[in-house]
């Protein structure tokens, strides 16, 4: 009997294990569901990828505050590591098990994938964005529609491709340079940090010359590939602003990758342009002060060097501010300075400097509402609570971030990070130079060689230009084909908007029809016109309207001259002082 039983177990052991695991899973899920299915409590699940110090406590506190106001609603948050967030969200959305509120963007998913998710899985929040936030009652924002309560007018919650608001952004981010006050004093004798570009470089030079008691070097700026990208974004890219006047052929104030290619092919500029040279020269000036081998290092390596007091400066953003303060509290005093911007009389960069840099108000940390949410109204209401003046202030104080909503107070630590909303902006950056395909790979290869000093600036730029002009043609054609594919895809969006417009009534219908016509004119007909023009320009055709866009036409100047001459003549005739 025992033998028979043993044989049975041996024979069916794998199946028994599978059945056992299945039953265990059923019981576990059912038990958990039973807790959530308390008929008197509406559970709102919120997913995010913020694993910074204090994030969990911040969400817990906001959830508890909300629960006090709405005892029938319970907020449960789930933190998913950023690296796996995209895959997790995709699985949850496709499987129909997504949480009610989802942090939008990032997580390794391309923006096009997020875009497709917006239409398929998320509720439009345009109505919410255009109504006053009830949680602002009794404040200066009472009666103000939600989108106008944000510093940036809630632009980051708006999806131009869909002409809709589909997320509510809750925090603003910025970048600055952190420095070790004690180490700066010890190595340079300075009590105050350097302010201008030349002074900053001189201080870095002083730091480089110092040795520790053990004879090891100090690094002026803690760097890594990740840190370099912040320097590029905040400093090297904006000094290319003057390139706009030569390369922006369609004169819309921005530069696209296909437009830069056309401008180069038309002879409007080349890669020896002062703005190009300035960008990469500045990269060399700054990275000369990074630790050796920074190109192979990651974010944590730079952070480690700074925390170990082997580097004086390090660039990072508000998202790291709280953690850095916590980590360095017992070791050294932390300071924050702005980027060392060159002055207009700078010997190298002066002609490029027309002001300071525009800083994008990254009002991010945005949440959308899952369209199959069991409690969409409660989910939206919790978002409104987080986006209210008081709620947003509290949430961001807990995180140590900058609130996205106007009239809010903030942690003194992050005041220095408030973005400047006026100044020069990037023209030659990784978007406009990136013609994709092999051209972009070549750029990355050559730039990497330049960064490790295997190439000098002239070699780097001339080798890239030769490749760009030649091989770039094929990649340009692919970019244009992608744009055409985009138009065909937009036709589907257009069909979708039209179907909603035909069903809708009142304000909703009006809004949808306006949206429909804007999509048609901008994304379909406008894009087609642009593809037509740039194909011709790259083929060498001269189109007068696209030549020297920022030069006054002779007739235009003649008209100005005539007007002034008439004004002078009229003033002379009247005996009045000449204008």
């Amino acid at each position: 009997m025992a033998r028979t039983l043993l044989d049975f177990v041996r024979r069916y052991y794998p199946i028994m294990v599978i059945i056992g695991a299945f039953l265990w899973a059923v019981v576990t899920i059912e038990t958990r569901t039973s807790v959530e299915d308390d008929p008197d409590v509406k559970v709102i699940r919120l997913a995010h990828w913020q694993l910074e110090a204090g994030a969990a406590a911040a969400f817990d506190e906001m959830a508890a505050e909300y629960h006090k106001l709405h005892p029938d609603v319970r907020i449960v948050h789930e933190a998913i590591p950023e690296t796996g967030y995209g895959a997790w969200v995709s699985t949850q959305l496709m499987g129909g098990t997504a949480p009610d509120l989802i942090e939008m963007g990032g997580g390794g998913l391309p923006s096009t994938t997020w875009l497709s998710f917006y239409t398929r899985y998320f509720l439009s929040l345009s109505d919410l964005a255009n109504q006053p936030n009830p949680y602002n009652e009794g404040t200066e924002l009472e009666g103000v529609i939600l989108r106008q309560t944000f510093h940036d007018g809630m632009r980051q919650g708006y999806q131009p491709e869909l002409q809709e608001y589909n997320k509510v952004p809750l925090s603003m981010f910025g970048c600055r340079i952190f420095y070790n006050k004690d180490l700066l004093k010890r190595l340079t004798g300075l009590d105050t940090p350097p302010s201008g570009f030349r002074e900053f470089l001189a201080v870095c030079k002083q730091i480089r010359a110092k040795r520790s008691e053990q004879g090891s070097y100090y690094t002026p700026i803690a760097g890594s590939r990740w840190h370099l990208s912040l320097w590029e974004f905040c400093m090297f890219d904006p000094i290319t602003f003057t390139g706009l006047y030569d390369a922006d052929l369609d004169r819309d104030g921005y530069l696209a990758n296909f437009e830069l290619f056309a401008a180069v092919r038309q002879g409007a500029l080349d890669f020896q342009h002062p703005a190009f040279r300035g960008r990469f020269q500045m990269m060399r000036d700054i990275t000369d002060n990074f630790q050796v081998g920074y190109t192979g290092l990651q974010r944590d390596d730079g952070l480690f060097l700074f925390a170990q007091e082997k580097a004086v400066f390090m660039v990072t953003g508000t998202w790291d501010a709280r953690s850095l303060v916590e980590q360095t509290r017992d070791s050294f005093e932390l300071g924050i300075i702005d980027f060392p911007w060159p002055t207009p009389d700078d010997p190298d960069y002066g002609p490029l400097i027309k002001g300071t840099a525009y800083e994008w108000p990254w009002v991010s940390f945005a949440f959308g509402v899952y369209n199959k949410s069991k409690y969409p109204d409660e989910a939206k209401d919790f978002l409104l609570f987080l986006a209210s003046q008081k709620g947003n202030e509290r949430l961001n104080k807990l995180f140590g971030w900058i609130p996205g909503v106007r009239g809010t107070d903030m942690d003194p630590l992050v005041r220095a990070f408030q973005p400047r909303l006026a100044g020069m902006y990037a023209v030659f950056n990784q978007l406009s130079i990136n013609l994709q395909g092999e051209t972009w790979i070549k750029f990355l290869q050559l730039c990497a060689q330049y960064q490790i000093k295997q190439l000098e600036l002239d070699e780097f730029l001339s080798q890239f230009e030769a490749f760009y002009r030649d091989r770039g043609q094929r990649d340009f054609e692919e970019v244009m084909k992608d744009r055409w594919r985009g138009i065909i895809t937009d036709a589907t969006t257009l069909g979708s908007v039209r179907s909603r417009a035909l069903e809708a009534t009142g304000t909703q219908a009006k809004s949808l029809w306006v949206k429909y016509r804007l999509l048609l004119a901008g994304r379909i007909l406008g894009s087609e016109g642009s593809i037509n023009v740039y194909n011709r320009l790259v083929a060498g055709e001269r189109i007068p309207a696209y030549e020297k866009p920022y030069e006054h036409r002779p007739q235009a100047l003649a008209r100005v001259r005539d007007r002034i001459a008439r004004e002078i003549a009229a003033a002379s005739a009247d005996g009045a002082p000449r204008p």
Binding site: S34, D37, S116, T119, R120, S126, A129, N130, R147, D152, G153, R155, Y158, E164, Y165, L244, R251, D252, G253, K354, Y358, G423, Y425, K481, R485, I488, A491, G495, S499, R500, L502, E503, Q508, K510, S511, W513, V514, R517, L518, L520, A521, I524, L525, G529, N532, R536, A545, H552, R553, Q555, A556, A558, R559, R561, D562, R563, I564, A565, I568, A569
Partner: protein, 313 residues
């Protein structure tokens, strides 16, 4: 304490999940025995469902919804044409691109136009047929003459319908792609005629924008600036959208400054941009432009003071 008052089976029956389990078992049983009777079809509801599935990217479900209505309604029933139009839309516009079934879509659009020639669905179907000729797959050349003719068919059949007006805009926008002076002048005249006949058309702003582009190509820059201004004045405001006008203000200002030499207008629109869209990045070059124009005027004034005969044109 409840356990002492209730037997185990009464607890099972009153458990909150009991109903769910019972429903699941019933559904399973129905499915297995094939006893599910056919649902009565509500065409309007199914059509709405079909469109919702289309918007959500559930194309196969949308096809099923529309096909059910088509098979359950008579050809003279208005919902029949509506469902055919919905079905055609799905075949025409579904994603990914490889899944499109354009031959079927074409046939269905034509059927709608034949079955209910005066209906809204027919108007949108004719427009869709024109768009199918226009938005060809990558690598396939577009026959713009055919696009123009297909648009003309919509314009002739529905001159006052939104689809007809859209067809005109598409037709003229594609004609102007040649950049040939004759074509461009013809388009400018045709659109001006449309605007005089339909001053309140919802497409007025886009029409003026198209005219402005024509004048830019033709070198008629003062008219270009005026058309751009009219385009902005007529532009529709979406009550629920961002309504960022920085781009439109910038285009007028730069055209006035660089092309027309109308610094007064340029200043006006640069200033409006700075005041109305203070967070736009192009506020910075707008401020630069204001300084630049003042500098140019000062230089001309200084020159004219030194050489008063140098003025005039």
């Amino acid at each position: 304490m409840r356990s002492s008052r209730h037997s185990w089976h009464s607890r099972v029956l009153t458990h909150p999940h009991a109903a769910r389990v019972a429903v699941s078992i019933s559904l399973l049983a129905l499915t297995l025995t094939g006893c599910g009777s056919e649902r009565p079809v509500d065409p309007a509801q199914l059509i709405a469902e079909g469109w919702r599935n289309f918007r959500w990217g559930e194309y196969d479900r949308a096809v099923k919804d529309f096909e059910t209505v088509v098979s359950h309604t008579a050809e003279d029933d208005p919902t029949h044409a509506e469902a055919l139009y919905g079905l055609a839309n799905v075949c025409d516009l579904r994603l990914p691109l490889e899944k499109k079934d354009q031959p079927r879509a074409r046939e269905l659009y034509e059927r709608v136009a034949a079955l209910a020639p005066q209906s809204d669905s027919a108007a949108w179907s004719l427009l869709a047929l024109a768009r199918m000729k226009h938005l060809r797959p990558v690598g396939e050349p577009v026959d713009y003459d055919a696009v123009g003719a297909a648009c003309q068919r919509v314009i002739d059949a529905f001159p006052k319908h939104l689809a007809g007006e859209e067809a005109l805009i598409v037709q003229q926008s594609t004609k102007v792609l040649s950049l040939e002076a004759d074509d461009v002048a013809e388009v400018a005249a045709r659109i001006q005629q449309f605007l005089s006949e339909n001053p309140d058309s919802p497409f007025a702003s886009h029409a003026y924008g198209l005219v402005a582009g024509c004048y830019r190509t033709l070198g008629r820059h003062e008219e270009q600036v005026q058309a751009l201004i009219k385009s902005l004045e007529c532009s529709e405001s979406d009550p629920l959208a961002l309504n960022d006008r920085s781009g439109a203000l910038w285009v007028i200002a730069t055209a006035a400054e660089f092309d027309a030499g109308d610094f007064e207008t340029a200043r006006h629109y640069y200033n409006r941009l700075i005041e109305e869209e203070p967070q736009a990045v192009i506020v910075f070059p707008a401020k630069e432009a204001l300084k630049r124009m003042t500098r140019i005027e000062d230089e001309i004034r200084a020159e004219l003071r030194q050489n008063p005969e140098g003025g005039g044109g």
